[in-house]
């Protein structure tokens, strides 16, 4: 009997936190800014710390993943004498799956954790409550620019990831392994479609960006304002964010590419 009650309480708690997160998002984002110029400045600052500073890790890992894909693909395709198809493999794998998913995972680790830690520390040092004392809505001033910056940055980063991955794969397969570059491009262009591959990958990245940044800012805002609490919240951002990405990816893939 007691177990049933506990289970119910856990479910209710969980539902309550989901509801809180939803209201939190609506309150912070779907409101017109009071001073547009100043909010734009805040947004640009966040775009810098969330997007520009994540650029290096995204470019480097994109290039290496493209190179590894090309190497692995080449070693298997060469057995069938169709090593030109490595371009096709590279582009489809990167655009449909690896680009959005790996970028989102990197983003959760690089930007999401720092968002949580930053907001959590603001809460612990009572900056958030002093904003409130000054009559400034912390949701609008602190949360909204961070959330919007995350949603703008992740899709752009995922595009950059895919592009550098393809260039990395091109260098390995064409310049080092000697795949004919005309066949490399023509097979790639034959099999990659703008709407089904590039746009669908982009849409995936948009979904991931909302999920990851939402989790990150919410965990920061709701964390226990102690050093231990901030640490836990940061870990939870990365774990929950990564799980959300992988689960969402399955659902989106089934919806986009499920009809054969």
């Amino acid at each position: 009997m007691k177990m049933v009650a506990e289970l119910g309480a856990a479910l209710l708690n969980w539902l309550e936190s989901v509801g809180r997160a939803g209201i939190f998002l609506i309150q912070s984002v779907f409101r017109l800014p009071v001073r547009p110029k100043e909010s734009l400045n805040l947004l640009v600052k966040q775009l810098y710390s969330v997007g520009v500073l994540s650029l290096v890790i995204v470019v480097v890992s994109g290039a290496f993943i493209g190179m590894v894909l090309a190497l692995q693909g080449y070693s298997i395709l060469a057995k069938f004498g169709s090593e030109e198809a490595v371009g096709q493999l590279l582009a489809l794998a990167l655009l449909r799956e690896l680009g959005p998913v790996v970028t989102a995972l990197l983003f959760a680790g690089r930007a999401g954790s720092s968002l949580t830690a930053e907001i959590g520390l603001m809460k612990a040092t009572e900056q958030l409550s002093s904003f409130e004392m000054m009559g400034v809505d912390p949701l609008r001033r602190v949360i909204a620019p961070r959330f919007i910056a995350g949603v703008i940055c992740l899709p752009l980063l995922s595009l950059i990831f895919s592009a550098t991955g393809i260039i990395g794969g091109l260098i390995v397969s064409v310049n080092w392994l000697g795949v004919h570059d005309g066949a490399f491009w023509s097979l790639m262009q034959q099999s990659v479609y703008f709407d089904t591959d590039i746009l669908n990958g982009f849409i995936k990245a948009v979904f991931f960006s909302v999920a990851v940044t939402w989790i990150a800012v919410y965990q920061g805002y709701e964390c226990v304002p102690t050093s231990e609490g901030i640490g836990k919240a940061t870990t939870r951002t990365v774990v929950l964010g990564s799980l959300a990405i992988l689960a969402l990816d399955f659902v989106l893939t089934a919806a986009m590419f499920g009809d054969f």
Partner: protein, 153 residues
């Protein structure tokens, strides 16, 4: 001063992101912006479309002149009805031309190849090619070969 630098970096980041998008669109998917060419539709009925898919190429002498729009079943004749879009500047396909489902390479994609006929009348929008050659199905080929081998003994 510092805020100006940040703005510069953010601007560069967004430009790089958009450039990556354009690069993927143009170079990787081969999207041409003048792709919305005028086309006209013709149809053909096949006994067996054997793995032909939407957007497959339609070629004359190996040159791409259009693509498959849709593949449906003709319920009265039990044949595969293939509708294709042909570029409107290729407007001189004789009505008695024949069309075959071909394969690029040994295991490659299926595509349609037009062989030009000799009629003076040309196909127009909604026209139909009657002389069709179905896809080669490996199982049928093998069974024919086996039957022949059995006969000669």
């Amino acid at each position: 001063m510092r805020s100006k630098r940040i703005e510069l970096f953010v601007g560069a980041f967004i430009v790089v992101g958009i450039m990556a998008f354009v690069y993927l669109a143009v170079q990787v998917s081969g999207l041409a912006f003048s792709d919305k060419k005028d086309t006209y539709q013709i149809v053909a009925r096949f006994d067996d479309i054997g793995g032909l898919s939407n957007r497959a190429k339609v070629t004359i002498a190996g040159v791409n002149i259009g693509s498959v729009e849709s593949i449906t079943l003709d319920k009265d004749l039990y044949m595969g009805l293939v509708t294709m879009n042909i570029d409107s500047d290729v407007d001189n396909i004789p009505t008695d031309s024949s069309i075959a489902i071909l394969t690029s390479g040994l295991l490659g994609e299926k595509y349609l190849g037009l062989s030009i006929g000799a009629d003076d009348e040309m196909l127009t929008d909604g026209g139909e090619i009657f002389d069709t050659q179905s896809a080669l199905v490996l199982e049928t080929l093998i069974s024919q070969f086996l039957f022949k081998a059995g006969d000669s003994e």
